[in-house]
Symmetry: C2
Subunit: 378 residues, 2 copies
């Protein structure tokens, strides 16, 4: 597994772990992989706290930060894009639909204090106004990588990163996206198949990875989507990837701060229990199929808005659902969902994140040995 | 590649080629792979002719036959299920919708002779009345394999096949389907990911193959969906498959009887240009995204029927479209579609079918050597 990417990143295993949870990031980095903190919903203050904590726990080993840096978003022409300005763009029909869901499923309202707590949360910082302060914090820490999970990162960011000896990675769901990333000068392309959790395209990893590898060569490619065990890591390497980018598999680890009710759903779910839905972020993202995703697919419903309006529309509803979802048999429990890929079907036990890395490495080694034996007898 | 499946099938390479075209079947078998003739739309007479031709061209090398053997279908209670009886079940709304598409796209009508020719065609022989005569023909030839592309094959068929030293394979799109196949006693499970052409489920090959391998062990598994080159074959083997089942990649070979206008569309298409659509068979099947599939996805349209009503509804329209699709700029050209998987994005040249097998084997060997070198340096 000592690929060019492993050397670039300075790790033993080119296994990258995307997680919103600093404990997972540190655990994977400490196990010889590379943790990447998903920081899109952080406030700058929270990010400062988390990165300081990571620095104190990884002893100089490398890690990264992931943000959503789309070049286009609704309301961009309004300049400010602060949440209050955006709120005026929300159509009444969709607002009424969300309210109606809350009523029909009997989801309790928030009290004033909880509502104030939400307003202090980071939300989705997908505008320059949102992510610039986060970048400022990140660059003050010894990060080794900045990843952009949506669209090609702005050229100025790449320059700034390279000046600071920070690598830039960008996710791609199509060959065309990958070519745009190459053109703009990213260091690593993450080819993410449709089976992945969160924002995904429609092309599967098995098809996407080789075509992206061929398209962006000699830029190294990480495979994402459908990677949760060592056989899948080996398959990714067979396809020409130099490493893997995993997100879902950490969500059921001991360190993950996954909501207990969601964690239980993950542990019970089959691979066919996910769906690509625009119902949370406004862009197609794979998540658990629940009554929430079904409501937004109703042909007699208004359907979801785009990004960043949809997250603004549903963020309070999501908090309401999650706060009450632990009540057995409640409508909130039924609605509760979160991002996860099709590997959810193989996430049936809770392990420590470092153990997940070691299990992947060992199973990968088994496959390598199997192929080596075949080479000998051939 | 000398896996247990290769030994069972008596082939050099466990590369199975599904094709409706006897030339492809024979070419793949002669190249050391294993050709499987898709015979669901054959008449018994056509099947007799094709299997005799194959026997004359493969010199005793092994091949198989693929049928659709669903255990459930609409109209089953009507017993007969002949096409005229079924035709009375077609709703007027959908019939009017098809007529409207033909008018709006200016697709010429058939003359009486052409219409008579269609009525002599096999159609979709998915009822016992339809497939029993085909099985009778198949068992008169030295077939090595019967494959069922939809649902677990009837128990009686498995007994009959085994008595005749014929292996039975069945396609599965979920772990649950695969377990049903195991229970009923199939010899080989084909785990087909969503990226495959034709009838597919929603779970991607990268996720489906390892979970099916683990679920049905020790029954061997072939990987299908997204397999069109040797890196993908190696990835399938890394996931635990003992071989691969490919359908799309043969459609642009020199031997394939693919309609020229469709072949051109395949050669030009990108991996993201396919869609799972119920518009041809009534069950979700992956095909080229064209105006035809978009018409059936319209929210103001009636949507497709089930199987076997939808194929009955659209078969004449499909013939009309294909007969006129070679006219550049015509509505028929715009509508024309056919089954294909996401590997269509890598099908950019026309090769001989035997060459495709050899290219796969060589590229597979490259990956094996790459892994073997890694094992040495580790």
């Amino acid at each position: 597994m000592k690929t060019a990417v492993a050397v670039m990143l300075g790790v033993e295993y080119p296994i990258l772990a995307f997680s919103h949870c600093r404990d997972v990031v540190a655990a994977v980095t400490n196990a010889g992989g590379f943790g990447v903190l998903g920081a899109v919903a952080h406030t700058p203050q929270q990010l400062e706290i988390d990165l300081t904590w990571i620095d104190e726990h990884v002893g100089g080993k490398p890690y990264g930060v992931d943000l959503l840096l789309p070049q286009k978003y609704e309301g961009a022409e309004e300049g400010g894009l602060d949440r209050e300005a955006l709120r005026h763009l929300l159509p009444a029909e969709q607002q009424a639909f969300v309210d109606d869901i809350m009523v029909r499923y009997g989801v309790p309202e928030l009290d004033d204090e909880q509502r104030r707590a939400i307003s202090r949360m980071g939300g989705m910082n997908v505008s320059p106004k949102g992510y610039e302060p986060l970048l400022a914090v990140a660059f003050e820490h010894p990060i080794r990588l900045i990843a952009s999970a949506l669209g090609p990162p702005p050229a100025a960011l790449i320059e700034r990163a390279h000046a600071d000896d920070v690598l830039v990675a960008a996710l791609a769901g199509t060959r065309e996206h990958a070519l745009r990333h190459k053109e703009i000068g990213v260091d690593i392309v993450v080819a993410q198949g449709t089976e992945g959790g969160g924002h995904t395209g429609e092309v599967a990893t098995m098809v996407l990875v080789p075509e992206v590898v061929d398209a962006v060569a000699p830029i190294p490619v990480l495979a994402a989507g459908g990677i949760g065990n060592g056989r899948q890591v080996a398959a990714a390497m067979a396809l020409g990837a130099q490493g893997v980018w995993c997100g879902s598999v950490w969500l059921t680890t001991e360190e993950a701060e996954t909501l207990p009710v969601i964690k239980e759903k993950y542990l019970a779910a089959r691979s066919k229990d996910t769906v690509r839905s625009r119902s949370i972020t406004g862009k197609p993202a794979r998540m658990l199929k629940t009554s929430w995703t079904e409501e937004w697919e109703r042909t007699d419903g208004p359907g979801p808005l785009g990004m960043p309006l949809q997250p603004l529309l549903v963020s309070e509803a999501q908090v309401r659902i999650n706060r009450s979802a632990s009540t057995p048999g409640s409508g909130a429990q039924e609605l509760a969902t979160y991002f996860v890929g099709q590997v959810v079907g193989q996430m049936n036990t809770t392990r420590r994140a470092g153990q997940v890395v070691l299990d992947m490495v060992n199973e990968y080694a088994d496959v390598v040995v199997r192929f080596a034996e075949e080479a000998e007898t051939a």
